[in-house]
């Protein structure tokens, strides 16, 4: 590895995205950028907190050609992005002429390039280890990302090893060790605190997170349960029954709900056509009476879970479910069978829920994350803000 020679004197850094790419949803860009920063928090005490305005350490922009710093971008291909070392301000610029993609072998993977550029923002130069993240050449999409030992040695030579066992504070749900943490209001009826098993959890198109339980739903915000919840599911999703098995929002912005042998499709709160339909009709190869479903950030595909098995559904493929499925859930190291819910949260992490516990999944290691306190953790406290 190589160091430029400057570094930040503080370890709790802030960033903001002042100009977004034109082809991706902001909520997806926020999640990928958070994931890219989290790469550098894994092995150090660095933390990265996103701000939406005001002064920050690292400013991120998606721009084209000449953009005011004398280092013009060159259109698609060639130079993908550049960043400034701490002594020069730490900002990161991405060429918006590139086809930035998430979880796809097409185009240029935003997460990988961003994680590289933030290495520069932290004081790392290019490495001549071709396997290192800090090597200068883009290696193409890597579904399972792993930081090279060369990169870890580099970042720790600047900011030391990780001493606090907690994950970066910009990862939701908020950790109680943050001094300013104020436990969120306990949900109105408190029932979810006594029994925090959920039917399903999913993100809406605009990035809100909803938990379904029976005939009610809770809206979870970044650090608490929204005031005035739970509410009746039928109030917000007219025509949708109670006791839903699974739900997810796909990149087409539509939210799919599954119950028994049937499924419904909504766009926001509006049913998107004549539903319910049979799962066998719209999701060929997927069984009925599902446990959980999600869109996995690692590749943007749809995963269904039932009992001890999982299926991968790719709408762009014929058939959408390969003959090699179902596969055992034990492939997802540390994830239990008979799940209740699965969620790819807007912070880029994947979460699994079973009973009153939840597991955070580390996509790069393809295993349940190790952290303190360890997983599984109580859902009631970390997701519903119960005491």
């Amino acid at each position: 590895y190589a160091l430029q020679g400057s570094r930040w004197r503080v370890k709790n850094l802030t960033y903001k995205i002042s100009k977004y790419p034109k082809r991706l949803k902001r909520v997806d860009v926020d999640a990928e950028i958070a994931r890219a920063f989290a790469v550098w928090s894994e092995d150090t005490d660095l933390t990265f907190t996103r701000k939406t305005s005001g002064p920050v350490h690292i400013e991120i922009k998606f721009v084209e050609s000449e953009h005011g710093d004398g280092d013009a971008f060159d259109g698609q291909g060639g130079t993908l992005a550049h960043a400034f070392f701490p002594v020069f301000g730490g900002d990161a610029h991405f060429d918006d002429a590139e086809l930035w993609t998430i979880g796809s072998p097409r185009g240029t993977n935003l997460f990988q390039v961003a994680a590289h550029e933030f290495g520069h923002s932290l004081g790392l130069s290019h490495s001549d280890q071709s396997s290192a993240l800090m090597a200068p050449f883009y290696r193409g999409f890597e579904p399972v990302f792993k930081l090279d030992e060369d990169d870890k040695a580099a970042i720790q030579s600047l900011y030391g090893r990780k001493t606090n066992q907690y994950t970066p504070t910009n990862v939701y749900p908020p950790s109680t060790q943050r001094p300013s943490y104020t436990p969120p209001k306990v949900p109105l009826d408190g029932s979810v605190c006594k029994d925090s098993k959920v039917d399903t959890i999913f993100n809406s198109e605009n990035g809100d997170t909803f938990a379904f339980k029976g005939d009610k739903y809770y809206k979870l915000t970044t650090d608490s349960v929204e005031e005035g919840y739970p509410k009746l599911i039928s109030k917000n999703w007219p025509g949708l029954p109670a006791n839903i098995d699974a739900a997810f929002t796909y990149k087409n912005g539509k939210t799919y709900f599954f119950k028994g042998t049937q499924y419904w499709r909504y766009h926001g709160s509006q049913m998107d056509g004549a539903y319910p339909k049979e799962i066998s009709e719209g999701f060929t190869g997927i069984p009925d009476h599902l446990d959980a479903a999600m869109v996995w950030g690692g590749n943007g595909k749809i995963y269904f879970f039932k009992g001890s098995k999982f299926w991968r559904f790719d709408p762009a493929k014929k058939p959408p479910v390969k003959a090699s499925y179902p596969k055992p859930i034990s492939n997802w190291e540390g994830v239990p069978n008979n799940l209740d819910a699965a969620l790819r949260y807007t912070n880029g992490y994947t979460y699994f829920f079973k009973g009153d516990k939840y597991y955070r999944f580390h996509d790069a290691r393809f295993a349940v994350d190790t952290a303190t306190p360890p997983f599984p953790r109580p859902t009631a406290h970390w997701w519903f803000g119960c005491k």
């Binding site: 430029q4 710093d69 550049h82 240029t108 520069h120 883009y138």
Partner: protein, 84 residues
């Protein structure tokens, strides 16, 4: 655009810190003495893990065409780009 000519390679090597910044100026291209030119290519080949031949061979030109980060590989005091 693929690096296919010596002058494009010269601009590339200058952009990423292997030749003096002046070499990026097309007007001055071709003014490198042989030794500077050969050692710049050798240094890039060494950094990129290629056979160090000092020649602008096909392998080297191909690697110069790959999408990459715009930060220089050789960061010296000359890297004076400031934030604003």
């Amino acid at each position: 655009a693929p690096v296919s000519t010596t002058s494009q390679a010269e601009i590339y090597l200058s952009q990423f810190g292997y030749l003096p910044a002046s070499a990026r100026n097309p007007a001055s291209s071709g003014l490198q003495d042989k030794h500077t030119w050969v050692s710049a290519i050798e240094e890039f080949q060494n950094f990129a893990g290629l056979n160090v031949t000092g020649e602008l061979d096909e392998e080297t030109m191909k690697l110069m065409s790959l999408p990459r980060c715009g930060v220089r590989d050789r960061v010296g005091s000359s890297d004076t780009r400031s934030k604003r």
